[in-house]
């Protein structure tokens, strides 16, 4: 006869981890643990084949199943020394579903199965806790009624509410054993009314009911649609695991606890956990009783006794088990255990969650210990976890104290990790002014715009009341590695009065606030911060590598990452300083230099405005001639910082109105400064106004309308390169034309660049190698990439704009609905954070395929925000890009993500 039931427990098991297809995930893992000699509560698993049979035979079970289940039950009774349905020493069981993969929509668990009005007496006798026993009983009835008998509805909760009202109490915990006993009776009445059936008192009937319910839950609409969506075959079926319940609350020789095999916060290799005598699992985490440390070392000055002291034998057993588990799973484990009347049972073991610091320490340590290899270590560290190692930090205790003092003002979106503290200022000018005086400032605005760049650069942190994590403030802040909180709606910022109002508190300009960009917390007053160790070593050089174990392990992991990645990693950098930092973080080139940021610096903006106001091409040329030498110096600085690595420079991109003021007052001021009529300036500002500037006169459309701009920029780039070449230096400029939608746009701009390059090279008498390429940031560019590649020598996906146009969503305006979309799961994630593979990604694939069809060796990169997002990096690897480019502080993340992608680790999207 076929074997349908596999037992486990009592030091052995019929199944193991390799039998996932037959026993499901849960069943095979329980078998694996039991097989290792780990004491798990005994049980048995009914195979997935039974599920298949069940569906093929109209809900009938195969012959012999009943007998095998009976035998399984008998085995469990034997190991536990208890009897199913016995009123004095009752065996209670849990029944769980378990397919090959975990699947929402299926029945999860029925606990305490086997309880009835008789067996409850045994439970009470054992636990000496009638209240807990009846609470368990009513939970069992409620859960069984719902998932097995289909008696759904609010009636059960309604009854509990009624009872509490009757007793004049607020919490469930205030109800007595008698109350729960009474409710059990009422619950059963409800079941009778709703289903026309009595609640089963026979434990065997209960068991078969639950087994059938598990099988039927395979076929709920939600489970079916989940399978369709994830291409899971219908005929895989689910297994059913039946396992003995164990209780940590059966007196002073019983206990329950949770533990980590290493410190999940620091990664230190030390056993670490908490427990409670005579308690249930939920008591440990509920925070009502203070749990005790497991080890003597863990006591510190808590004055609490440890398990090591109270139950030294069990402690030793636990130590052996945790060592065995780590050796077996080669991973830090998070374990749950229960001690029932002096006997230890492991309820669960799973990979333990940890901080970024711990993740790196554990991964690197385990390589040193020979437990895992480098590849596995790389797979173990989530790229985003590196952020913690780079962000400045508040002193933990000081922050704790501030919160206790009620100084936590509000919580916004954590847009730029790290801690920052400074005086509130409301304008970029003020930020610059105060920074000049050596003050640290937090630039606080409803939102930021390109005009604020200089102020943002000088601020310690940025705080806005509107905007999402991809808003201007957030993007720029991350690019600058600044701490930033955006969308902090609780702040009422009033520029006119120069105040922020939060509830009853009023913060004035100049007051101190502290922002934790890692958590989104805004705290009143000054909190001391320190830069991260990695930064101290790498950027500030205030610490030596050998002084920081964190840095050493970070560096080691990065070395491994570089060895295992195929994608190149570049950075988005607009200044020599940024470029230098990025190189320290491992950037292999610049993927995007935004020339417009240079237009705002110092008094260049005057010349830029003169150009915009010029009446004709000649006037524009005169103004541009003033900017040219300065741009050239910028490029020389960047080329030098990059020492011969490729540098991609984008020609002017933003609409011209961004360079002009917008309020009447500012316009009048500027007009005075420039010596032009305010009226004329105002007319110009108005004439440049656009209904949808994002889709307006910007990108290469500017260079086409005003070829002299492209010409000036090309000349500045090529002259800078030529001067360095003359000095014997290597330079690799890549000139990038933005917002191309049609090959003809690129063609014209490339002609200008080529002509200027030829003239300039001749003038300097040097040979210069350069490339001209384009951003692919409009759907049309991707769709016609075969044509575009006739001219483009490289592509760089501008996925910010590509996402905006593909979705038809403006980042600036998305705040009114995009958060709701993500919250309601209309979109699986924010497409401005991770590339939307089905839509934007499909266009990227088309772009890559068509581009390389024309030009097989086409170099293709990405320079949108996504270049620093691990999931997006993985996608870029998959579709065969040559490199990703991201902000300097994201470079390590991209390096790790690229290695992981190459190692086949799937990044988590949400």
């Amino acid at each position: 006869m076929a074997k349908y039931v596999y037992t486990f427990g009592g030091g052995k098991a019929e199944g193991n981890a390799s039998m996932k297809n037959l026993l499901g995930g849960k069943g095979s893992n329980l078998g694996e643990m039991a097989g290792l000699g780990i004491p798990v509560p005994p049980g048995f698993t009914i195979t997935t084949e039974v599920c298949t049979y069940y569906y093929e035979n109209d809900g009938k079970y195969p012959e012999g199943l009943e007998k095998q289940v009976q035998q399984g039950l008998r085995y469990v009774e034997k190991v536990m020394g208890a009897k199913f349905g016995n009123r004095r020493n009752p065996l209670l069981v849990s029944v769980r579903s378990g397919a090959r993969v975990s699947m929402p929509g299926m029945m999860d668990t029925v606990l305490n199965l086997g309880l009835n009005d008789e067996t409850i007496q045994g439970l009470i006798a054992k636990t000496k806790n009638p209240r807990m026993a009846y609470d368990s009983y009513r939970r069992f009835v409620q859960m069984y009624a719902d998932v097995v008998m289909g008696a759904k509805g609010d009636e059960f909760e309604e009854l509990i509410r009624g009872k509490k009202k009757e007793k004049g109490v607020k919490d469930d915990t205030e109800l007595t054993a008698e109350d729960w006993q009474e409710l059990v009776g009422k619950f059963k009445e409800v079941v009778r009314e709703k289903t026309g059936k009595d609640f089963p008192t026979d434990p065997k009937e209960q068991l078969w009911g639950a087994i059938g319910a598990v099988f039927r839950s395979w076929d709920t609409p939600r489970a079916v649609s989940y399978r369709q969506l994830h291409h899971i075959p219908e005929d895989w079926g689910t297994a059913v695991s039946v396992q003995a319940m164990v209780f940590g609350n059966m007196g002073e020789s019983s206990a329950t606890g949770v533990a980590f095999t290493r410190d999940p916060s620091t990664g230190d290799k030390r056993f670490f956990g908490e427990f409670l005598i005579n308690a249930q699992g939920e008591d440990v985490v509920a925070g009502i009783r203070t749990p005790h440390p497991i080890t003597i070392a863990g006591k510190r000055d808590s004055g609490l006794t440890s398990l090591e002291e109270e139950m030294p034998e069990i402690y030793q057993q636990l130590v052996q088990i945790y060592e065995k588990l780590e050796q077996h799973y080669k991973e830090m484990q998070d374990i749950e255990f229960t001690i029932q009347e002096g006997k230890l049972y492991m309820l669960q073991t799973r990979t333990g969650k940890r901080t970024g610091f711990a993740a790196i320490r554990i991964a690197v340590d385990m390589v040193d210990e020979g437990l895992i290899d480098q590849e596995e270590a790389l797979k173990r560290v989530e790229p985003a976890q590196l952020l913690q190692l780079l962000a400045p930090i508040f002193e933990t205790e000081a922050k704790q104290k501030a919160v206790e003092e009620g100084r936590l003002l509000a919580k916004g979106l954590n847009a730029g990790p790290g801690a920052a503290c400074g005086r509130v200022v409301f304008s970029a000018e003020k930020a610059v002014e105060m920074a000049r005086k050596g003050e640290k400032v937090i630039l606080t605005r409803t939102e930021t715009s390109p005009e604020d760049i200089s102020g943002m650069a000088k601020a310690a942190g940025i705080l806005t009341s509107t905007g999402g994590t991809t808003s201007h403030a957030a993007v720029v802040a991350r690019g600058m590695g600044k701490s930033c909180i955006v969308g902090c709606g609780a702040l009422n910022i009033d520029y006119a009065t120069g105040t922020i109002t939060v509830r009853d508190k009023v913060i004035k300009e100049g007051d101190y606030v502290s922002i934790d960009g890692t958590t989104g917390e805004v705290i009143l007053g000054q909190l001391p911060t320190i830069p991260s160790e990695v930064i101290q070593v790498l950027v500030q050089k205030t610490k030596k590598p050998e002084e920081s174990r964190v840095y050493q392990q970070f560096d080691e992991l990065m070395t491994w990452a570089d060895k295992h990645r195929k994608l190149g990693i570049r950075t988005n950098a607009d200044t020599p300083g940024d470029a230098a930092v990025a190189r320290k973080f491992g950037a292999e080139g610049i993927g995007l230099t935004r020339t417009e940021h240079m237009f705002f610096e110092g008094d260049r903006i005057d010349a830029v405005r003169e150009m915009i106001l010029a009446e004709d091409s000649e006037g524009r040329k005169r103004a541009l001639a003033k900017i040219m030498p300065m741009q050239k110096e910028d490029f020389i600085g960047i080329f030098e910082a990059m020492e011969g690595l490729p540098v991609t420079i984008r020609t002017l991109d933003p609409p011209l109105h961004e360079f002009l003021p917008h309020t009447d007052k500012e316009i009048e001021e500027l007009a005075g400064q420039m010596g032009v009529e305010a009226k004329r300036l105002k007319q110009k500002v108005q004439s440049l106004h656009e209904a949808n500037p994002m889709l307006g006169h910007r990108g290469c459309r500017l260079g086409i309308a005003y070829p002299e701009i492209t010409e000036m920029q090309a000349r500045a780039i090529v002259e800078a390169a030529c001067e360095l070449i003359k000095k014997g230096k290597k330079v690799e400029p890549e000139i990038m034309i933005p917002l191309v939608g049609h090959i003809n746009e690129l063609r014209g701009q490339k002609e200008i660049v080529d002509r200027v390059a030829k003239e300039t090279a001749e003038k300097y008498g040097v040979a210069i190698e350069y490339k001209v390429g384009t951003m692919i940031e409009l759907p049309r560019a991707a769709l016609t990439a075969d044509q575009v590649a006739l001219e483009a020598e490289f592509f760089s996906f501008g996925t910010n704009d590509l996402t905006q146009t593909t979705f038809g969503i403006s980042r600036d305006d998305a705040g009114t609905f995009l958060p709701m979309y993500v919250e309601k799961r209309i979109l699986p994630h924010d497409p401005f954070q991770s590339i939307d593979r089905d839509g934007v990604g499909a266009l990227m694939k088309i772009g890559v395929e068509k581009g390389r069809a024309t030009r097989p060796d086409l170099k293709i990169g990405i320079c949108g925000e996504h270049g620093g997002d691990p999931d997006s990096v993985e996608f870029c690897h998959e579709i065969g890009l040559n490199y990703v480019s991201c902000s300097p502080y994201r470079v390590p993340i991209a390096r790790l993500a690229a290695a992981r992608a190459n190692l086949g680790v799937e990044a988590a999207v949400d």
Copy 2:
């Protein structure tokens, strides 16, 4: 020996139209005409095989070619009774290139080849016009030097300018025979200087030079790149046609003329043309001498004698020829002829350009005459030509009154039918300038030239004082479908003073005139217009079908179109009135009803504003409840008008701020009306402000944020349908969700519609059939159409928004660069007018393919502006859409375009 040379003329020909590959387009057509017995100037064609040989053998000619060319020349001499190179009776020839297809970049024509200092004497003797002879000579030298000898440059024109300066004259026409003679000498010196060679005096050398130049012109870079672009094989080669020159200016028995075989303005079947005795072809069209009518009927009250009277025999011969040509080509012909010393030669026959009225009349008449079939008739009428039949005409009574008041200024030739009214302008620049300001203008000139094209395009109508119905003004105006009157000699136009003087009346620039291009009447002042005959019959019912031949023929053509098309034709209509009009034009359903337009009507806007200002869902529901009954009435009206045809209704699309005022004053007014605080209203307006509203909170994003809006609209639609169904009427509603980018957006909205439909159908106790579908107007929707089609029961391409997002171009802001893009040919055409096939079209194809992969019977239409553009309709046919939807007045155009697409006619894009 192979045959390389094919002669034609003298009543016979060795080649014919079927030999295009061998003789090129020109050569084979000349052969065809000659073969029909049409008297063409004799000549011969050197085959394309010679060209191929030439390139395969380093510029050598095949053996025997020279002899065959000599024989050909001798044949021509014999037919013409003249001798090549003879000083008394010289034969002059033209040399033309001619490939299978006409191709830019190749040598066009060298005229008057054979002239030298001796043969010119013969020409002078024959024409008795030394000035014309020497002018011809210098033109020959100039052209030959350029295209054959490669002596390009401005020197020739420089010399002419110098001569004019020396003589103190302004125009070329003021130079004398002696002046030109002197210039010929100087031209030859320039040639010697620039090429180091003497200008050939030997006519044979001239001939072989020209033949070689034609072959070499096959290989110019421009020709090569044209071939690459159009996939024309290199080895097709070009033929060379050598043809005798004939002269209409050899005295009183010579003449030249142009004619149409039917009236190109009305389509009437009457021979129609103009000629001049003792003149060259260019004199007829130049507008300097007023040409005479060919027929007696054509004289009207001009007082000019006709060819029919002056040369009755030749006239008879011409009549026979034109009849033969029409029978042969089965098309209205535009012919050019020259009478040289009493002998008639046909220089050219080609398909004649015509107005929309004429196009339809000729096509329908020719079917009646049995000349062509219905399919051919459909191919003959450009869809855009139908616009003329629908364009307004002057009100009869008002015109009558104007005439009685003496405001009829003059009567000219009716060159372009239709009524137009506008301000007089005298230059193309002024026309463009005023049109930009929204002024309607009548471009008024003595004559027009190609430089005036841009102004003509912007003018409402064109009026000239000279020139015939075949003049530049007439031809171009007809091509543009503009109202046009030419040859209105009564007008004395004085550019200097900016006036027109007619008898005692003086009209200044900026004054209004009204021109009736159908009758040739020019009337002072503004005349009111009334709908065209077709509209009067079809829409207004003020005329009976039998009273309008125009309508009858239009109707007949439309019937044929319907028989031959596969695409369904729907209309975009928001009111029962529009729907009714569209049905009269042949719409088979509504493809787009914009519900937001209904939101603006009457006092509904108050309820809409109340909804926007509501604090919560309940408040919105209360406001929406006020709108619901009105929307329902709208839908009842539309459903009734469409009598059971499908009606696609789009749920609310525009951003809410469009329903609110924006200026402070308006806001205060409205706040007063609504009884809310102005401050609150202002805050709401500000909170709804978006940086890029096109990409903001609109479309289904509204219905998702405020499900009660979708619910109200769904209820209004379904209740309307149910009420009609109860009355036994048929209703086919299709509810369309706008701006879907992700299937989940559609899913949620569809759930609302389905729930409401179920509730409503139950309430009314009727069964209702309806569909829920979506616009495909975002790239993401097209790219994920396979997913979207899981929910969508139909697709409708919203190509306006799809074009905006695919290109990243806002229509509202495109004015600053899109016209420049089209002008500079950066884009081949305005993508908002005709679908951009490579980009937007590629997305549409993806959408159709993926959508039908999921749902093979998916109904797909288009409801953007493009639905009424012939080229776009063709594309929609090609990619397999089910229907196009366009504005009511575009329905006939779409019907015809759909038929033509199905018949395989390629629409013209630009």
